[in-house]
């Protein structure tokens, strides 16, 4: 029986991009459905009634929500190729820990960079830089967080790269200057076709944020 896989997504979402990369790595054929978040589809509201958010993976009619839960699911269902999580339980715990750390920090801090000014913005900038430095330290000398190949943590983190230009421009700083090894890592990831075809252009994200600021009435 052929698998029916649908991804409910929104093009600039870092969380959606995670799922796109994972599905591509596993060679899963799927239907990409673009959601208008100001006018959510019936399907989205039915598939994620609790949070009403994207991404949602719909596999043979059954929804999986929350991007890191989706990554685990994809890894476990399509387990015949390209493991995303390491096999060692301690390494798995480390990958999960840092992915959880990204989710606790990056989105909210990044958001403050383009929604606030002055002291609040400066504080968010400092905290984001510190967080990025921690992640950079965690990479060490490895080419990828997954070791020689792309893994769970690489996939969890790399989509945020598409928002760096927006963060840097609104926050008036350079992430490459602060975290050169991290930027080198993003360049290595972008050389992988499954990553580059799943990510959107940073300039487009910046334009989107500009539009969003206008719509939300933020200076």
């Amino acid at each position: 029986m052929a698998d029916e896989v649908i991804l409910l997504d929104f093009w600039p979402s870092m969380f959606g991009m995670r799922c796109r990369i994972a599905l591509a790595e596993k060679g899963v054929k799927y239907e990409y459905k673009e959601e208008d978040l100001r006018n959510k589809s019936d399907l989205l509201l039915r598939m994620n009634p609790i949070h009403k958010k994207i991404p949602v993976l719909v596999h043979n009619g059954k929804p999986v929500c929350e991007s890191l839960v989706i990554l685990h699911y994809i890894d476990e269902v399509w387990s015949d190729k390209c493991p995303l999580l390491p096999s060692d339980p301690y390494q798995r715990a480390q990958a999960r820990f840092w992915a959880d750390y990204i989710d606790k920090k990056f989105y909210d801090l990044g958001r403050k960079l383009w929604t606030t000014k002055g002291e609040e913005q400066e504080a968010a900038k400092k905290e984001l830089i510190d967080s990025l430095k921690l992640l950079e330290g965690e990479l060490g000398d490895k080419p990828f967080y997954g070791g020689e190949k792309l893994g769970f943590l690489d996939i969890a983190l790399v989509p945020f790269y598409t928002w760096f230009y927006a963060y840097e421009t609104f926050g008036n700083f350079s992430i490459e200057a602060e975290c050169p090894k991290l930027i080198a890592w993003t360049k290595r990831c972008l050389e992988i076709e499954n990553v580059s075809k799943s990510l959107v252009e940073p300039q487009k994200v910046y334009d989107f944020v500009l539009q969003l600021k206008k719509a939300l009435g933020i200076e």
Binding site: I50, H59, K62, V64, C65, E66, V69, I70, H72, Y73, E76, V77, P89, Y90, R92, A93, R96, F97, D100, Y101, L134
Partner: protein, 232 residues
């Protein structure tokens, strides 16, 4: 097999998050040492083992730290796969369902419960209570669908989602007592109410679930410590 002294949990008896790895270890029959943190003063070991968050619980396995309670529970399940029951379900969709609800509990439901104590004024308090009750209805519905008539979310034995939710029962009871509420009402959420009794009576839980009285006294202590200064 864990050698003596190889498995440690850095924690505190009142913390629901610390309960999680303890229940998991009990389910697996793994002996461990509890290193009790003193409230209000973090030990060197804690700060060294969890420099990022500086929080409990921290799990130490042969001196290697694992942090974040649900990550620790998964680590325990994966490290001792053939002793005791499986904590996570075996089917990938069931695993995704358990992880989804555990995330909901940590990100939405538990904060809504602590929101009751933090609410300023009657209206805010009522709104906070309504949120908790709404969450319980969602969880009641989830319990019906997931347990499929069995005693626990995990089926015949306690599983990941039972641990994720059950650890908060002590604090739930304290909240009910402190504010004169009946949140886990058998009339409104019968499935959950009966599940809660079974959970607390389980051998893996009995020794680690704090007594409501003791927890209520502890709550008074921390409320006094963090109480906002009275308005001028």
């Amino acid at each position: 097999m864990a050698k003596a002294g190889e498995v440690k949990v850095i924690g505190g008896w009142p913390s629901p998050f610390v309960m999680r790895p303890r229940i998991a270890l009990n389910l697996k029959g793994v002996e461990y040492e509890l290193l009790e943190e003193k409230f209000g003063a973090k030990s060197e070991l804690l700060l060294r083992s969890n420099p990022v968050h500086k929080k409990i619980p921290v799990f130490l396995h042969a001196d290697r730290p694992v942090c974040e309670s649900l990550i620790i529970v998964q680590y325990i399940d994966e490290t001792w796969p053939s002793t005791g029951p499986s904590i996570l379900p075996s089917d990938p969709y069931d695993r995704a369902t358990a992880r989804f609800w555990a995330a909901y509990i940590d990100e939405k439901w538990f904060p809504s419960m602590t929101g009751i104590a933090r609410a300023q004024g009657e209206e805010a308090k009522k709104a906070a209570i309504d949120q908790v009750v709404e969450g319980l209805f969602l969880l009641e519905d989830a319990f019906g669908k997931i347990s499929k008539g069995k005693p626990f979310f995990g089926g015949d034995t306690i599983g990941f989602l039972d641990i994720a939710l059950g650890c908060f029962l002590g604090w739930l009871r304290v909240t009910e007592k402190t504010h004169g509420l009946k949140l886990l009402d058998e009339a409104k959420v019968p499935g959950l109410a009966k599940w809660a009794e079974r959970f607390c009576a389980d051998d893996a839980v009995k020794g680690v679930m704090p007594e409501t009285e003791k927890l209520a006294e502890f709550a008074k202590l921390i409320m006094a410590k963090f109480k906002a200064p009275p308005p001028q």
